[in-house]
Amino acid sequence: MKKDIILAGVGGQGIISIASIIGHAALEQGMHLKQSEIHGMSQRGGDVMSNLRISTQEIASDLIPFGKADLIISVEPLESLRYLPYLSSDGWVITNIKPFNNIPNYPDIEFVMKAIGRLPHHIALDADTMAKEAGSIKASNTVILGASSPFLGMAYDKIEEAIRFIFRNKGDDIINLNLKALKSGCDFAQRNI
């Protein structure tokens, strides 16, 4: 089993938290992992991406080759389109539809959604609203993770376990909130595959 994942967002949106949950679940199952991050200047509100590779075999490159990513997971709609050259022909794009508008020339969101709609395999969801319904808008990334969960090649309960581990110091309320957010994202994806 091998999954190559591009995580996309804007500096400060916390895409690394998604990476650490998937990464933890993968490691718990004895898989290999490589995750490349961007630090420094681009963290100041610029576009950021991370390469996350998990595999039962040893992984060679820290970077995913173009045309080989199984998944693009994006917490922002415009950013979900920036890395399409990485996507394989049967790869999926999972994205939040809530724009993060910190540039003067952000394109019309309708056109962005149309471009996402034209992708052969995509799940687009309002993670912010769903997170609010689950208890806190801060769990928006967990909703996106939930929507990605059917594509990760691992059992759902392994991701739940990883959430329990990553948030272990934050109390049961936070864990349950995130599990609920995860579930709502997952349910949405299942209905829309």
């Binding site: 804007v10 500096g11 916390g14 990464g23 490691l27 290999h32 992992l33 490589k34 995750q35 490349s36 991050e37 961007i38 630090h39 420094g40 200047m41 681009s42 963290q43 100041r44 509100g45 610029g46 576009d47 390469n51 040893e58 992984i59 060679a60 490159s61 820290d62 970077l63 080759p65 173009f66 045309g67 080989k68 990513a69 415009l78 950013e79 389109l81 920036r82 399409l84 050259p85 996507l87 022909s89 790869g91 910190n102 540039i103 003067p104 952000y106 394109p107 056109f111 962005v112 471009a115 992708l119 806190s136 801060k138 769990a139 948030f167 934050k170 109390g171 309320d173 936070i174 995130n178």
Partner: protein, 539 residues
């Protein structure tokens, strides 16, 4: 022995701690910062009194590490590639003094300039200084090489350059650790003259270095980090160094390359191994991250006789990072690509954070300067360099740490008046103070704006040596007290701030303006940590 998930930077730090480190010296710089931060956050380091406070700049860091090595203890000094320019004087001379306790110099190169002003290759510095170089290809190697590097450094009494690149520094993978080695006891060098580089000693030491070079080559021939991997198809031989090896292997799912491969992780280059590859193969492909260092070496200037492909002949791009696709194309394999990026996707450049004090300073500065022609503002390296972008477009230069002050001086000497320097607090103590003294000595009419946000913000908020000291430093250097002006960059103070800046612009001498307000990210972090202590927070 345990398995940890570590960034390349963290693997180096953990390796150093486990190899008996006594001190780490560094100035923050992407992509090297996390090495020192890892040691600073290590309980083991705290319990064992391992030095890990930030240095004022890379030169002081390098010299302090050399001092610790003189005392017989193991030291590591870390910097980004351009930091090695600042540390070049002690670095080059440390090859002549040699080391006593193990001494490793980490230089983190940034090909593709993700967060830098150039993509210089630190291996040139290693060769220039005749200092052996280690270049890891993965996180485990990075960990192991630190142990090896310290042993090597003590065996030959020479510092070792540890060269990494951005992807190595900021990629995470599993690392198996070893048992912790005890720190060295303090012991002076056996040769009491080796660190006194008077010509009489330096000549003797340099001859030793020239002789030892051949021993370093011998070590490279048998190093566990230089590998000759057999291949049946001799139409091509591949030399690959550091992380480029991973990009090569990515193109072979069974991890078997049909061509002979020489994998390099330790320099000087292993001559016999290169000779063997050249003798066995019809032509050579060199894939290395950064400059064509190996390629130039084996090709020669005229490139006669030997057919060498790589960055120089266009088989690989001359600049920028490598990746698996570039290697595939170089090998004549099918390239892969997904869907095109839709035209509507616009760039999202980094920008000053909402609430950043620099925004208010730039707004005030722009208004104060509205009446004079553009092109009078020299700036520096930090978050505030983003003031070059819209909507501020407030600065006209960004070259190297401290250059704002001295370029403003040179421009004023040439007749550009008023002439303004905009520099951050940490950059000022890094390399701005000496230039300010130049201006004071000559009473050059420049206005130096020291943006004091009480942190080294761009690299993630490290302590700044300037905090609480700026006025005293400026006074000590000789700036007249009435021309050291403090202001608070807030929108409500805009009018007053414009007035103060305008007053100092009109002054025909050295003035310093200090807009002082804490970095908004630092405040956020502080509040979050306080909140975390009182109650559990959310994702």
């Amino acid at each position: 022995m345990q398995k940890l998930l570590l960034l390349g930077d963290e693997a180096i730090a953990q390796g150093a701690l486990d190899a008996g480190l006594s001190g780490i010296y560094a100035y923050p710089g992407t992509p090297s910062t996390e090495i020192t931060e890892y040691v600073q956050n290590s309980k083991y380091a705290q319990d064992n009194n391992i030095h890990c406070t930030w240095s004022v700049n890379e030169k002081t860091a390098m010299e302090s590490a050399l001092g610790m090595s003189y005392a017989g203890k193991r030291a590591i000094v870390c910097m980004k590639h351009v930091g090695l320019n600042v540390a070049a004087d002690p670095f080059i001379n440390s090859a002549i003094t040699g080391a006593n306790g193990g001494l490793i110099v980490v230089a983190a190169d940034d090909p593709s300039m993700h967060s830098s002003q150039n993509e210089q290759d630190s291996r040139f510095f290693g060769k220039f200084a005749m200092i052996p170089i280690l270049e890891p290809g993965n996180q485990q190697e990075a960990y192991d090489m630190v142990h090896y590097g310290f042993d090597f450094s003590e065996k030959y009494g020479v510092p070792v350059l540890f060269r990494i690149t951005t992807r190595m520094a900021h990629s995470r993978s599993g690392v198996v650790t070893r048992e912790t080695r005890r720190q060295n006891e303090v012991h002076l060098p056996s040769d009491q003259h080796q660190f006194i580089l008077l010509p009489v000693n330096a000549k003797r030491r340099y001859k030793k270095l020239l002789k030892d070079h051949f021993l370093f080559v011998d070590e490279s021939e048998v190093s566990p980090f230089n590998q000759y991997i057999e291949g049946k198809n001799k139409s091509l031989g591949i030399i690959v160094s550091g992380i480029a090896y991973n990009y090569l292997m990515e193109n072979f799912p069974d991890r078997v390359v049909p061509f002979p491969v020489l994998r390099i992780g330790q320099y000087p280059m292993p001559r016999k191994m290169v000779e063997r590859l050249v003798n066995e193969c019809k032509e050579i492909l060199v894939a290395e991250e950064g400059y064509p260092v190996i390629e130039e070496l084996i090709k020669g200037y005229l490139g006669r006789g030997l057919k060498v492909k790589g960055r120089l002949d266009g088989t690989l791009p001359r600049d920028g990072e490598l990746n698996p696709n570039l290697l595939a194309v170089a090998l004549g394999m099918q390239d892969t690509v997904g869907l095109p990026v839709p035209e509507l996707v616009v760039g999202r450049p980094p920008s000053l954070c909402s609430g950043c004090p620099h925004i208010d300073t730039y707004n005030a500065l722009n208004e104060a300067l509205a009446i004079i022609p553009r092109g009078h503002i020299f700036s520096d390296i930090g978050c505030y360099t983003l003031g070059a972008l819209k909507p501020y477009e407030a600065i006209n230069s960004c070259v190297d740490m401290g250059a704002s002050v001295t370029m403003a001086k040179g421009a004023a000497d040439a007749g550009i008046l008023p002439s303004v320097a905009v520099i951050g607090d940490s950059t000022f103590t890094h390399s701005g103070m000496t230039g300010l003294l130049d201006a004071v000595v000559e009473k050059t009419p420049i206005t130096v704006i020291i943006l004091d946000n009480a942190t080294t913000a761009m690299t993630g908020g490290q302590d700044s040596a300037a905090t609480g000291r700026i006025e005293a430093i400026c006074k000590g250097i000789g700036v007249e007290e009435e021309h050291i002006r403090l202001l608070k960059p807030l929108r409500k103070n805009h009018g007053e701030n414009v007035r103060i800046i305008a007053e100092e612009l009109a002054f025909q001498g050295v003035s310093v303006i200090i807009p002082r307000r804490e970095c908004i990210v630092s405040i956020d972090k502080r509040i979050r940590e306080k909140f975390k202590k009182t109650q559990p927070a959310s994702a």
